[in-house]
């Protein structure tokens, strides 16, 4: 019964995600406004049928900016997640399969990296790379690598002892073939779940960094930068900051629920509470 409810949540959130993704792609056809053109006649208008989420201090349509912002935030999220997953997967596979000094080194390195609270690690990387949206994506991605190394290595260690791996070794399979053809498919489910969850996490992280003024700069229609712009207007025009943050939460929550559903669907052993 629990799993039924979860898959319904999964389907609903997948639908929500599809709506967000579609409207982000179709943004130019869905709204007559431009995300950057200012219109001082229409400053701080409350939500109406002409402006679904109202207008901001410069008379720009907030709904339009949220849609265009989805393009930025979702691509930053996906890119950062891949940037963490690909090297993390590779290092974790090597570390777990071969063991030895390389494994020791990786474990000590991840120990150190995980000793930084993750936002502080991202902040430090942004400081080294200099602020900006691209560097925020890189920073969020890099900060995610140690988590993947740990997860993949752990999974490899448990799969490595299986009889079919021993059999593959016995018939003389090469190491890279065993890793790619026998181990990788068996750990791909949990990696896929982590990547999904990681997209949500990366969106949240990148939005926070832009909110702090270290990522996308105004007038870029990015959710974090929009929230920052609207923060001072909370009394006069709450929609300017609430609209992007609410849509951000919707996106993040649905991605997480899709991840939950994926985990339940892919792995019959885990039953989430």
């Amino acid at each position: 019964m629990i799993s039924d409810r979860y898959s319904i949540a999964g389907v609903v959130s997948l639908a929500v995600l599809a709506v967000i993704a579609l409207s982000m792609l179709l943004a130019p056809w869905l709204t007559p406004y431009d995300p950057l053109t200012m219109d001082y006649e229409d400053q701080l208008l409350p939500p109406s049928s002409a402006h679904l989420f109202g207008t901001d201090l410069f008379g720009r349509d907030v709904f339009t900016r949220v849609l265009y912002g989805a393009r930025i935030s979702l691509s930053v999220g996906v890119l950062a997640a891949l940037l963490a997953a690909v090297p993390g997967l590779l290092l974790g596979l090597i570390s777990g399969y071969y063991g030895g000094p390389f494994d020791q080194l990786m474990m000590r390195l991840t120990d150190v990296a995980l000793a930084f609270p993750s936002l502080i690690l991202s902040l430090g990387i942004v400081a080294v790379l200099e602020p900006g949206l691209v560097n925020v994506t890189i920073a969020v991605g890099l900060a995610g690598i140690p988590g993947y190394v740990r997860l993949v290595r752990g999974n490899v260690l448990s799969v490595k002892e299986a009889l079919y791996i021993e059999a593959a070794q016995a018939v003389g399979c090469r190491h890279h073939r065993i890793i790619l053809r026998h181990i990788l498919p068996n750990i791909s489910a949990s990696v896929l779940v982590l990547v999904t969850m990681d997209v949500a996490w990366a969106i949240l992280r990148a939005t926070s960094l832009s909110f702090l003024g270290l990522g996308a700069q105004p007038p870029t229609p990015e959710w974090g930068a929009m929230i920052d712009e609207g923060r001072e207007l909370l009394r006069r025009a709450p929609w300017v900051s609430l609209a992007p943050s609410a849509v951000m939460m919707l996106a993040v929550l649905s991605i997480n629920l899709v991840g939950d559903a994926l985990r339940d669907a892919l792995d019959p052993h885990t039953v989430s509470q």
Partner: protein
Amino acid sequence: MGLVLWGVVTLTFFAIRLLPGDPATVLISQGGGSAQDIADLREQLGLDDPLPIQYVKFLGGLVRGDLGISLVSHRPVTDIIGEQLPHTLALATSATLLSVVLGISMGVLAATHRGSWIDQLCITLAILGVSLPILLSGLLFILLFSLVLGWLPATGQGSWRHLVMPSLVLSLASTGTIARLVRTQMLEVLPADYITVARAKGVMERVILWRHALRNALIPVITIIGLQFGALLGGTVVTESLFSRRGLGRLVVDAISWKDYPLVQGVVILGAAIYVVVNFLVDLSYGLLDPRIRRS
């Protein structure tokens, strides 16, 4: 713990020195200055030494509590951090306390009323807490409690009333995580034989819950509290900015914008050090909670 701390310091030191620009040049070019000024500043910052010498000097300074001089204000980094640390610690500590007290109470309440509306309410609140980003919950709280109801000040600091909203907002995610974990742990412990025995002996239900059941359910919860503390430390950065509070978060964001590398380095090292020490204390506390661990 010492090894990890050393790794943290070393990694931060060399990462900062990987910077493409020379901090002295960056600094002087911002304020305007001659080649002589740059050379003087390089000497003053010790940038003329070879990297290994700089590293050893840095470690030596660190042991004496010297994190270098801020490039912007030319004051010792330790002094600047010392001024801001109490603000951040107050926020982080009150948020931790809130999430521990609220999370454990909600978890116990949900577990003892399993399946009822109280359970449902607690679960829903917990999931809501976990999924609300600070950037949304903070805005909603300010809107409701400051602008509509006028109960609490939206920004600034000084009194406990300034601390209520930021710590509550910061604690939401941890509260939800702890509540969910406490609930599952309690549900596992409550059917145990020793609970039945305690009931049969006629021990008061309150004592059974808090002394027999909760204590045995607590070890994984303590672990999570330690891990959550890291998220909480990171969260203070966003929270301080959202509520316009002074503290390490504002300090580090400003330092990044000003390219004040010694200051960034100091805050990053301190953040990691606090997190490591808290998790070390968490490891130690297992022994206090569970005599079996103490004996081994």
